[in-house]
Symmetry: C2
Subunit: 153 residues, 2 copies
């Protein structure tokens, strides 16, 4: 635990903290008969903000392969958390909509998420936490740009 505070570790640090957060949040989580494997919560998170997103855009924002997203959505659809609707103007695209059940799940999960963040942010000033989030978001877009740029080559 005596890790020097060198920035070199951001790469591994973010990975680890991310997984820890998810793990603590999902611990002992149960929702009716069906519990969407924690991994899929990220999809719901995005859909909560932009209901009706296209599958493609979901893959981009969650940084997952489109195949992975397709299968995750199969799972969520089977559990009746989402609904796929084909775009009438472009029959290739599908838009994803949340069901009422998903909203109930999210409401339930949000509580746990808040508790998890409380635990994680113990003894961290709100200002520091805020800049941390700000920095993460900036890194997110920076890397997003880099990745999409590389794709074009």
């Amino acid at each position: 635990m005596s890790s020097t505070a060198r920035q070199d570790n951001v790469i591994f640090l973010t990975n680890r903290v991310g997984r820890q957060l998810a793990r603590v949040m999902l611990e002992r989580m149960e929702f009716e008969e069906f519990l969407p494997q924690g991994t899929h919560m990220g999809l719901l998170s995005d859909l909560m903000e932009h209901d009706g997103m296209r599958q493609q855009d979901l893959a981009i924002s969650t940084i997952k392969d489109k195949g992975t997203v397709a299968r995750a959505l199969n799972h969520l659809e089977q559990g009746q958390f989402i609904e796929r609707r084909i775009d009438p103007h472009d029959r290739r695209q599908k838009h994803i909509y949340l069901t009422e059940k998903a909203h109930r799940l999210w409401h339930y999960a949000a509580e746990r998420a808040r508790r998890t963040i409380d635990i994680a942010s113990h003894e961290i000033t709100p200002e520091d936490m805020h800049t941390c989030v700000k920095v993460l978001q900036k890194m997110y877009t920076n890397l997003h740009d880099e990745l999409s740029q590389n794709e074009k080559e």
Copy 2:
């Protein structure tokens, strides 16, 4: 991309940024004949700081299942990046040591890691980045305490 700057998203945000960072770093990475799958770099990172760690402690610090670590080490051992040595005082434990080859790999990877971080930290002030890392480390220990506490119950 219009994500509100609410802290609620730290959970998914850290996950995503973490995966992005790893992905950018590993892009087009090649090392002689054998490239340790990026996932295993975290293990090397820890070993660089504490050579001779026990397997168990590696699992704890990287937040991975001990089974996962065992298999990853098999892979790294096969590639001659690490060496397992049984503790003479307790034959259950194994200590992990890096080989010279691992040091060469790390040197090679460190360059790419630095470049990746440069990309990610574009237009982020060093102070903000520093507090971000500080916050992540604090969250890490906070969550670590929480997890080990839950285990005891």
